[in-house]
Amino acid sequence: MERDALLMGAVAYDPKVVTIWDGFRRWFAAQDFDFDYLLYSNYERQVEDLVEGRIDAAWNSPLAWVRSVRLARAAGIEAQALTMRNTDCDLTSVIVVAADSPITSVADLRNRTVAVGAVDSPQATLIPLLLATDAGLRPGADLTVRRFDVGVGLHGDHVGGERDAARALAAGEVDAACMIDANHLQFTDEGTLASGSTRILAQTGPYDHCNMTVTSAGPTERLTRFDALLRSMQYSDPVVRPLLDLEGLQQWVPGRTVGYGQLERAVDLGGFYDDAGRVTAAEYRP
């Protein structure tokens, strides 16, 4: 279907999503660029709509990117990472234990219980559990996984599952908890984890987070302008600065796809999606 506006999908994981994209929409209009957005309740429908051409761009989680690549390939087109936030690059996740825990290595987690975030959280479930797998521990067999399924379908954007995992650790209900590096600091700052009460047992390698996914079948000219406009946003501009602050970036940078290797591997190992991008995770109901 021909559209005048560039139509972007975003997942409504928080009410601020409306503030952010409404604000950007006004800004785009001021640049004489016809932009609109569609809100989704979960990432799965968003990436399906992207590949089927119902939207031109998808503001995707890393897991949604992985699925977009597979769905697009199966449809004979190619998913591309147009742009991303400067703050999306080189994140890490950590496995945290109590400061006085006898556990000193990932291997020590054998026969222990590890708290993780939602089933579809790259940062608090899929990528950190890869650390255990790489240490020879099969999640669910060699160690017990206690999952905190908050906001399933939001790919971990909702912080609730991660926070509940941290609370379980603080309460002594589990031996370890998984979270993104920034949330370890935040949970300590806010008091969910008492200062000095936890120890970082292991840290994953760096990975990348969200990107603005488009496909080779998209409206090339409009997408080029969209990319150029996003990248032209300046943090010194008081009109966009509050929106950039809300979205958690200082600058849109060129999209790169080198930072999704760990997640690809975790998805394959855990059987989350198949090669064609079909959802195969048994306990995943977005």
Partner: protein
């Protein structure tokens, strides 16, 4: 590693969960963007948390523990400006973008632009405001302590009822005197904070006046007096005045100005010590209100002599609007007579009448004096004073 480390911050045992960012931030503020700053410390989570913090603040890690200062702070504050001079108000218009910021604060660009429409020096300012505000704070009194509510009083019931009627009248007048500045308070640009402060205290003063007049009315269990439609129409015309200078002129210069005479009258002639005490205390507060109103109107006239014409029109317009109302309720007038009589007999009442006539003459004389001070010729002042509401306020 590109370039060399310009400085090193040693955090010791301090972690980012306990304020380490303050030390790192401080070090980064002192160097230009692009400078390398090394961060060392013994907190086990330092490496992880430093990377998180740097990413969030727009810095980059060159290597573990080495931060490259980014441009985010400069981008945010590069075009920030001071919200005026902390020691002096602008002699022009206070910009909306200063909003609620403290006078002299460094204001980030962007953000809300509240609609404080009373934002111009000549529209709100009076040099005397800061001094009056200080006096007002020093002069605050506690009704429970400042007034001996148990003081002996054995007034005849007719005289007590007259006192209660006067209190009933005063309460509705004080309500108007509270509402008028309260309505303007939220419209005055916070840059003119002395004016905001003074009016805020003025509102609090009036709230206290309402309290003490109410308490005096209820002191001996007699029912409240009457509230005439004409009196309330007169007060309503004060509430309806949308112009700040004109409202202050009508309320403070003419209305509260007349009340100074009324309160002096009550202090002198009230038949019981409680009413005399109340009148004395309220008089002090009202004198400040009149002083500000007068100073403001004088300044406004000095800045623009045409304001005087608008003042005249305001008096005439109000007079016309109230032409068909009775003005001062007859019951209030009679109550003042009986109050000033202090006793229920013919001789005392004759004295009361004399005193009320003297009061009205005093009010007229006071209004003419203040109008003359604003710059009206004596004949003009006399004519305009005569047009003032018969309800006094």
């Amino acid at each position: 590693m590109n370039g060399s480390v310009a400085r090193t911050v040693d955090l010791g045992d301090l972690g980012f969960d306990r304020g380490a960012h303050l030390l790192v931030d401080h070090a980064l503020r002192a160097v230009p963007a692009g400078t390398l700053v090394a961060v060392v410390g013994r907190d086990p989570a330092l490496g992880v948390h430093l990377a998180v913090w740097a990413r969030r603040r727009g810095h980059r890690l060159e290597a573990p523990g080495v931060v490259v200062k980014g441009t985010v702070e400069a981008d945010r504050w590069g075009d920030a400006t001071r919200a005026g001079d902390p020691d002096a108000v602008t002699d022009d218009r206070a910009p909306a973008r200063w909003g609620l910021a403290a006078r002299g604060a460094l204001v980030e660009s962007g953000g809300p632009q509240p609609g404080f429409d009373l934002d111009t020096h000549d529209v709100v300012w009076a040099d005397v405001a800061a001094r009056l505000y200080a006096q007002a704070l020093a002069g605050q009194w506690d009704p429970a302590v400042a007034i001996d509510w148990a003081a002996q009083s054995d007034l005849p019931v007719e005289v007590e009822d007259a006192v209660v009627q006067v209190m009933t009248y005063l309460i509705e007048n004080e309500q108007a005197a509270l509402t008028v500045p309260a309505r303007f308070l939220g419209r005055i640009h916070p840059h003119f904070r002395e004016i905001v402060q003074l009016l805020a205290v003025q509102v609090a003063d009036e709230a206290r006046h309402v309290e003490v007049f109410t308490r005096r009315a209820r002191l001996h269990g007699r029912p409240f007096g009457v509230s005439g439609a004409g009196g309330r129409a007169s007060l309503q015309s004060l509430l309806d005045e949308p112009d700040f200078t004109l409202a202050l002129f009508l309320l403070s210069v003419l209305g509260e100005g007349s009340f100074l005479n009324l309160l002096s009258f009550l202090e002198q002639h009230a038949p019981d010590p409680v009413t005399r005490s109340i009148a004395r205390l309220v008089l002090q507060d009202e004198a400040r209100h009149v002083a500000y109103g007068l100073a403001h109107v004088e300044l406004a006239v000095a800045a623009d002599p045409a304001v005087r014409g608008r003042l005249r029109l305001a008096i005439e317009r109000r007079h016309d609007a109230l032409r068909d109302t009775t003005g001062l309720n007859e019951a209030v007038h009679d109550a003042l007579v009986v109050l000033a009589a202090g006793a229920w007999n013919a001789d005392a009442i004759a004295t009361g009448v004399e005193r009320v006539r003297a009061l009205e003459a005093d009010m007229d004389e006071g209004r003419r004096r203040r109008l003359t001070r604003i710059g009206f010729a004596p004949d003009d002042a006399a004519a305009l004073s005569a047009l003032h509401t018969r309800n006094f306020m």
